[in-house]
């Protein structure tokens, strides 16, 4: 630790502002609005004491979460209620913090993929791709065209599966049980495809710096095409079930409204922003992975409420299906991993007769034929690649908004710093202004329309 003692915030003073400077003046009102509630549970007495001191003995404070079925993970909402009306709501996060950013600094660049895929666990391919794009930008290389196309293919499938989970869980929370079953049913088909390609249903670590780890296995293209055909009619089914369903309309229309200016001010991105009428999508605005060659539209809505967000997400699934078809139609051939022996991962795994992953041809090559190849393999696996010094920020459009990787290298075989701008984390700030004035039941709809994934929020 550093020699100079910087005051550490103690439990008792956790609610105090940092040492005052002349530039800093916060009114009592602002403090009241931004009153924090600590997560240890020791804050309870304080919250109630404050309520009593202010004569609000008709204000009830409840903890929704962190173990609550409708909080999409370990999100804790401290809700102040007057009757059934919400007068304040504070999201409290951190229950799932695992220090991924710090851990990544002690692993090689390739191992970093295994960490980042565990952040936003509903959109793992996006995390992997953004991290690898940042690494490649530092390296100054482009992956082979087939790898880029496969990344797009998998990202769009992943976007559909992520939106399906949103649709399913939000439906469940608002009492539409059928959509929950349907959503998870179709998601399962996507996870089957992802498992075919990567070996795992989630936490794939399939996208690697300079390419992807595996090519599509035989028959997967047909499977994806069949799914796309199927999914179109399934999306129609969802619309039949929900779009004009009076109960769904009652529960979602006008709930969780925020104006476009408020959303931009709160740094919101993704479907929430598009549901307020701004057609901002990084795939169009600042294309990456060759998105400019695919034809798709950016769906928008104007309601900026839960219903508008539902419309946008449903339309996005259809657009993703279009992209998936185009990728399959134009899939280029060639390798899926850079063939530069100093950068590309050497081994291509194949399923051996014993059911284990191995590559007899590769083993034969390095053990029997080429000393060079053996050395490269050994250096790659033990030490990893070296990435030139520099720092980059790479944003991509994840299902929840702008997913940005700020990656710094000092020229070594480990990242110097990996900072993740996770859209769930930033979008969660809209929870408070959206919920004030709502009824408790509507808070659930409003918070769920953010689509927060706490693995991404807490990292």
């Amino acid at each position: 630790m550093s020699e100079v003692e910087v005051p550490v915030v103690q439990p008792g003073e956790a609610h105090e502002l940092p040492p005052a400077s002349s530039a800093e003046h916060v009114s009592v009102h602002e403090r009241r609005v931004h009153q924090v509630v600590a997560m240890g549970g020791g804050d309870w007495a304080e919250v109630t004491a404050r309520a009593a001191a202010e004569g609000q003995d008709d204000v009830m404070i409840i903890n929704m979460g962190p173990q609550h079925p409708s909080t999409h993970g370990v999100l804790r909402l401290v809700v102040e209620l007057k009757g059934e009306e919400v007068i304040n709501l504070q999201p409290v996060v951190g229950y799932l913090h695992t220090g991924i950013e710090k851990s990544a600094e002690f692993r090689t660049w390739v191992q970093g993929v295994t960490f980042v895929t565990r952040m936003d666990y509903l959109a793992p391919i996006f995390n992997e791709t953004a991290y690898c794009l940042a690494t490649e930008k530092l390296l100054g290389i482009e992956p082979p065209p087939r790898a880029t196309a496969l990344r797009v293919l998998m990202m769009e499938l992943n976007r559909i599966s992520s939106h399906l989970v949103w649709l399913a869980t939000t439906g469940l929370e608002l009492g539409a049980l059928s959509i929950m079953l349907y959503g998870f049913r179709e998601r399962e088909e996507i996870l089957d495809i992802l498992e075919d390609v990567t070996g795992l249903r989630m936490n794939h670590a399939w996208v690697r710096p300079a390419g992807v780890s595996q090519d599509l296995p035989d028959g997967t293209e047909d499977k994806i095409r069949a799914f796309v055909r199927d999914m179109r009619s399934k999306a129609d089914e969802y619309e039949t079930l929900l779009t004009n369903n009076p109960i769904w309309l009652e529960r979602t229309r006008g709930i969780g409204y925020l104006s476009l200016d408020e959303l931009i001010g709160l740094s919101t991105t993704g479907p929430m922003l598009r549901a307020a009428g701004l057609d901002h999508d990084l795939r169009k605005a600042q294309p990456y992975c060759g998105y400019e060659q695919y034809e798709f539209t950016v769906p928008t809505a104007t309601g900026s409420d839960v219903y508008a967000r539902y419309q946008v997400r449903l339309a996005e699934m259809r657009e993703s299906l279009r992209i998936v078809e185009q990728v399959l139609d134009t899939l280029p051939g060639g390798p899926v991993m850079s063939e530069d022996p100093k950068i590309g991962w050497p081994a291509k795994l194949a399923l051996g007769p014993d059911g284990l992953g191995n590559s007899p041809a590769h083993v034969q090559h390095i053990m029997g034929e080429s000393m060079e190849a053996l050395i490269h393999h050994f250096k790659q696996v033990t030490e990893g690649i070296k990435v030139p010094r520099g720092e980059v920020y790479v944003p991509i459009e994840s299902p929840r908004g702008e997913l940005g990787y700020h990656v710094i290298s000092d020229g070594g075989n480990l990242p110097y710093r990996v900072h993740v701008r996770d859209p769930s984390f930033v979008n969660l700030q809209t929870g408070t202004p959206m919920s004030i004035g709502l009824l408790v039941a509507d808070v659930i709809a409003a918070m769920s329309s953010i689509d927060p994934v706490l693995g991404g929020v807490d990292r």
Binding site: M1, S2, V4, V6, V8, V9, Q10, P11, A14, H15, L17, P18, S21, A23, E24, H25, V26, E30, H34, Q35, V36, A38, M39, G40, V93, G94, H97, K102, S103, R107, L138, I264, G265, L266, S267, T268, T269, L278, H280, A285, Q286, G390, V392, Y393, P395, E402, G404, H406, I408, D410, G411, G412, L414, R417, H419, R421, V426, L428, Q429, D458
Partner: protein
């Protein structure tokens, strides 16, 4: 502002008027304009940060209305400067479809940076995060408390001199050492 402000690439055309405007108007506030891989980074004096940010948000040539991200960084042993801690602001302009990064660096002894929550309310959580992990004090932030770590946590875990912890195992005195000390004793460093 240093004269070594030459970029080794041509910044996007829409960014030129922003850089010119910044240089004209805030010449004494800019420490350095640098860039890497096509990204333009402007390092600022911390006292002028809010002023520059407001200008960047409101000026018609800039209109950086979205504060995309704030990254806390600890540059210990990265370069020789005593200002170890850094807040890196990533701004995006919907109108001109450009990005710019701002940097403010401070020392560990005086880790104060003015908060930009008054310019972009969305800076609230990201600043709390940078405070939590790096101990950067964002003066004027309405509610600067830890966000991810428990509120009674000691120290700032993502600083470079904050050690990784090992894991105690429930087996006669067994202990899994931190990953950086495991097998590559003395040899497992970043460079």
């Amino acid at each position: 502002m240093t004269e070594a402000a030459e970029l080794d690439f041509q910044p996007p055309e829409a960014l030129q008027p922003v850089l010119t405007g910044l240089r004209e108007r805030f010449e004494d506030a800019i420490r350095e304009v640098s860039g890497h891989r096509g990204e333009v980074v402007v390092e600022l004096e911390r006292d002028r940060l809010v002023e520059v940010c407001t200008w960047l948000r409101d000026h018609p040539a800039a209109r950086f209305r979205l504060l995309a991200s704030i990254s806390g960084i600890d540059y210990l042993n990265y370069d020789d400067r005593p200002e170890r801690l850094c807040a890196d602001y990533n701004l995006y302009s919907f109108d001109h479809n450009i990005r710019i990064r701002l940097k403010v660096r401070v020392t560990v002894e005086d880790p104060h940076i003015p908060s930009v929550t008054g310019v972009w309310p969305g800076a609230n959580f990201p600043e709390r995060e940078a405070y939590d992990f790096f101990g950067i004090r964002f003066d004027g932030h309405p509610n600067l408390v830890r966000i991810h770590m428990p509120e009674d946590w000691k120290g700032y875990p993502q600083r470079k001199d904050y050690p990784l912890g090992g894991v105690d195992v429930e087996y006669i005195g067994a202990h899994i050492p931190p990953p950086d000390t495991r097998r590559y004793k003395g040899g497992w460093t970043s460079t």
